[in-house]
């Protein structure tokens, strides 16, 4: 997984909790979805989108429609990880975030998470808002 040239990359630190591990002594595979979600929220904040306000003010929500994760090496309790996240694709139908989870320079996990946009309370699929689509084109000066 190579980070494409010119994209905005959020690098979010995560400390692995004891609760994140399992009896195999490593981070449980479901836990990475927590780290990835957290990194998407920070990505959006860094690009000017407050996701809480997005949901509340616009009655929109962006649920996950597909997740693909490859586990290469396991994270351990108390590791300080960096989740690097960028937008791989965005259009009216969907938004795909790609991520690499690192321990120092070691790439532990890669992920592709695809979201759609729905309107509450009917839960109807709607077009991605322009403000989200605009995130796909690196703004001048970023």
């Amino acid at each position: 997984m190579k980070i494409p040239e010119g994209v905005y990359v959020a690098a979010v630190p995560v400390r692995v909790g004891y609760i994140d591990t399992d009896r195999g002594q490593i981070v449980h595979h479901a836990t990475y979805l927590r780290y990835l979600e957290l990194s998407r929220v920070e990505y959006l904040r860094e690009r000017g989108v407050d996701y809480r306000r997005f949901e509340q003010e616009q009655a929109l929500s962006m649920p996950v429609v597909e997740a693909r994760i490859r586990y290469r090496s396991a994270a351990q309790f108390d590791d300080l990880l960096t989740v690097k996240t960028w937008i791989a694709q965005v259009n009216r139908a969907k938004l795909r975030f790609d991520s690499g989870i690192y321990r120092g320079s070691e790439l532990l996990t890669t992920a592709e998470i695809t979201l759609c946009c729905i309107r509450s309370p009917e839960q109807r699929i709607v077009s991605m808002p322009e403000a989200i689509i605009a995130l796909g084109s690196p703004a001048a000066g970023e």
Copy 2:
């Protein structure tokens, strides 16, 4: 912790998942709150209260206001546990469920979970509904 005479007791089976454990090779202490919640929902179902409908139709909700848990012995991956739950106290202000979590005849954990009742969407504390208070008096024939 003794189960009081004459109370209704729900006995709910729970299989311990791999995800429920931590690197200490035992069930993580937060996981028991999952098992306890699950047992309260089943308790209510057995007594005629469908908690999903309770929330949806009455716009009420019963959040936890206090939790007290004593961990005596640890559950392990794949254990088949029984969560025994009963009402220890209920009045207009609060509802307290007590529970014992067993592996066979061995008591692993005891808990006291106290709930109040709130009305959505304002999140205002309201009186426990009569239907809930009535659960405190063992109905004839139960």
Copy 3:
């Protein structure tokens, strides 16, 4: 996702907990990995492999190396789901379980989870044991 002809299918019931949901009022996307894991353990038990004993006696473990999940419709609190799981592929290098998660006849989620086999405590990748590979060939009479 079609279930291939002739494969062994485990159908595991799962009740959705309150804790499994998120503020979007639906089951959180990470929760499905819990349900899928649980169904794999039951699949193995039904086929004669006690996964707890597998780990303890053989010092082997089968961590997830890849997960792919497609979310079509959301499960809700208190839904009674069925997780249907079968082996899509197994060889010396890996074991892939495919699953469909259903609410009644409605298919909510599909998943492909790939495991490898490692030996503890060195965490070295080893060949899948013969007993696991044998699960790929439907035994006569099953």
Copy 4:
């Protein structure tokens, strides 16, 4: 809950994740045990005890034997909380951490978490190490 005079207090920031919430639109009550655990690990780090190394090098572990939590106000998605944690009591038999979880100056949750000390792999209860007991007496200069 008042913070006693003269004790060392760790103040650990926590950002509430989407996964931490439930369909009641608030942080699920079990999630606070995650935040509390995280704050205890940071408390120990600040006082010179690396808990990962503690477990690995000394074959010791400090499981939770009792948890008591009072939920006063609910945290919400994306809140930036502060978990203040201090040692309320420590002796050869047990270590009790008390905590207050704040959103700004508002106290949302209070907790008392009691740990004991066990030796692996036999899981036998042993005396708290001197290094832990010493944390109870505020060192000169701290």
